[in-house]
């Protein structure tokens, strides 16, 4: 059996993280599965972004960050010396809070990943372009202006372009940090629909500040509070029958 065929994509074991002397993540234990959407919820500053950025080691771009514990990605510890971040990040795509396309054409944006990883064949590139844009539900809107600058697109289109860009290298995980917080409700609905359709092929972890969004799109929900993972389980369970009092207080809107 291929290592990438296992059901468990991420197995996080006893993860701690410090910014300098401030501990931002405390003993996190969580499993993220294939073909599931995992929502990460919690009040502002509880460590959601920190956690998701640790999964592809983007957190290492912040100076003075220290971690302990293990994050097994298909059984391999991502902190291991033999793990190349470039390889990890090729298998684990990321979509940011604010759409961040490159100031290049739509074509160049989508094909950035394939090109830096050495795909040169023109026909192959065109194929990747089309399938990625189609998977990101953007193809029909941009197929006639593939060579226009990405910044001519609307915010929602830019975000779907960023998703297409992430899909173009065929990752198996997509990490999203509040991908709809800068978008209007219609654009948000499109992205949510898209996430639902992507589930068939990818494992998705999404940070959201919207309980409704978590409820609508996720299979599992993780509730973070002050750097701790308070509760993790099936979304239905978490929202209908939370085990922890703090989870209940949060989802019923008593704080946050």
């Amino acid at each position: 059996m291929n290592q990438y065929e296992s059901k468990i994509v991420y197995d996080v074991k006893g993860l701690n993280l410090w910014y300098g002397n401030d501990q931002a993540l405390k003993d996190i234990n969580i499993q993220i599965n294939k073909n599931e959407v995992t929502a990460i919820i919690g009040p502002s500053g509880c460590g959601k972004s920190t956690f998701i950025k640790t999964l592809n080691r983007m957190i290492e771009n912040v100076p003075n960050v220290r971690t302990s514990g293990e994050i097994l990605y298909h059984g391999l510890n991502i902190f291991d010396k033999t793990m190349r971040v470039e390889e990890l990040r090729t298998r684990v795509g990321m979509v940011f809070q604010k759409p961040n396309p490159f100031p290049k054409s739509i074509y160049e944006n989508v094909l950035y990943g394939p090109k830096i990883h050495g795909v040169k064949d023109k026909q192959m590139l065109e194929e990747i372009l089309e399938t990625s844009l189609k998977s990101a539900a953007l193809w029909d809107e941009v197929k006639d202006r593939l060579h226009d600058n990405a910044y001519g697109l609307s915010g929602g289109q830019q975000q779907r372009l960023c998703i297409a860009r992430a899909l173009a290298v065929q990752p198996d995980v997509i990490l999203m940090d509040e991908p709809t917080s800068a978008l209007d409700p219609i654009a948000t609905a499109k992205i949510e629909e898209l996430i639902d359709s992507l589930k068939a092929d990818y494992s998705i972890s999404i940070v959201t500040h919207s309980m409704q969004q978590a409820g609508r799109i996720s299979d599992k929900t993780a509730f973070f509070l002050m750097g701790e993972l308070v509760e993790f389980g099936n979304t239905e369970m978490i929202f209908s029958n939370p085990r922890d009092k703090r989870t209940e207080d949060y989802i019923t809107g008593r704080f946050g």
Partner: protein, 314 residues
């Protein structure tokens, strides 16, 4: 005092004090306001006069130079060699000398300057040591050009035995403008938003790939603008070249980077020195100044066009 507060005052109510007993009432003083309006008007005129003064001086200067160059600045002047006879003299060799300097200065400053800026901005850790380097590079940019001339003389002229060749002159001028190119390139790199770098890293790109494919394309207009401005400064510099010992009258046109040379600002300097004995040299100097000014003006215009053409999209 406005009408509202006057009415309120008549009724014995102080509007400023009504709901906050500790607040001091601010007296509105018409005279004071009038005085400030007046001062403002006067200062506006003073500032305008200052601008006018600078413009006037510049115009007189330009007028005199252009007037003196008329009749001298012609095709013959641009295409002939130097000569001690004013009517015969042309600046062909001088122009070749200046072009030769640029052939050295442009690649040297671009390669060294941009590499240094990339190292400092993108690779070096933001440590105290790095700050020290940065401050020192900025300081270097304000060192008088004669000092760079002396350094060039010692290092390139004597130690590397390049004498007063184009290569020695070009390297000396490169040293002079390098700090400016480094600082302006650093600014251009700093202006590239971090979220673009993050987007690239998140795609699995390494540092150099990110710099080459994302950071540099965005930063290059800014880098070029700074580079062109510093190179145009190099074209106009005299002092460091005088220190190197450029010949006062060079009859041969240089054919390689190892040849002796003379350049536009130097030739202006030498001709001006001799105007007492040969008054026509003033006309030659004026004609050369016009050529130099047009060159600098063109270069600065290119820099401005590049800067204005690259509007921020993100």
């Amino acid at each position: 005092m406005d009408i509202r507060s006057e009415i309120l005052n008549d009724k014995g109510i102080n509007p400023m004090k009504s709901n906050n007993p500790t607040q001091v009432k601010v007296e509105i003083n018409r005279q004071r306001i009038n005085r400030r309006v007046l001062i403002n008007e006067i200062l506006k005129k003073v500032f305008f006069a200052s601008t006018l003064f600078a413009l006037a001086v510049l115009s007189v200067l330009l007028y005199r130079i252009i007037a003196q160059s008329i009749g001298w600045l012609d095709w013959h002047f641009l295409t002939s060699k130097l000569s001690i006879f004013p009517e015969k003299a042309g600046i062909y060799g001088v122009i070749i000398g200046s072009v030769g300097l640029m052939v050295v200065v442009i690649p040297v400053t671009l390669i060294l300057g941009v590499s240094t800026a990339i190292y400092l901005e993108e690779y070096a850790s933001k440590s105290r040591f790095q700050n020290l380097i940065k401050v020192n590079i900025s300081n270097l940019a304000s060192v008088p050009s004669v000092i760079f001339g002396l350094l060039g003389l010692a290092l390139f002229g004597r130690f590397l035995n390049l004498g007063s060749s184009i290569l020695a002159g070009g390297l000396t001028l490169s040293l002079l403008v390098l700090p400016i190119v480094v600082v302006s390139s650093q600014e251009a790199l700093k202006a590239v938003p971090n979220f673009l770098r993050e987007a690239s890293y998140a795609m699995g790109a390494g540092k150099w790939t990110t710099i080459r494919k994302v950071v540099l394309p965005v930063a290059i207009p800014g880098i070029l603008t700074g580079a062109i401005l510093s190179i145009s400064r190099a074209i106009g510099e005299t002092a460091p070249l005088v220190v190197l010992g450029i010949p006062a009258l060079l009859l041969k046109v240089p054919t390689s980077l190892m040849d002796d040379f003379t350049a536009l600002p130097i030739q202006i300097y030498y001709w001006t020195l001799d105007t007492v004995l040969t008054p026509e040299y003033a006309n030659l100097a004026a004609a050369t100044i016009v050529v130099l000014l047009i060159t600098l003006f063109l270069m600065n215009s290119i820099a401005i066009v590049i800067r204005n053409k690259t509007q921020k999209t993100y």
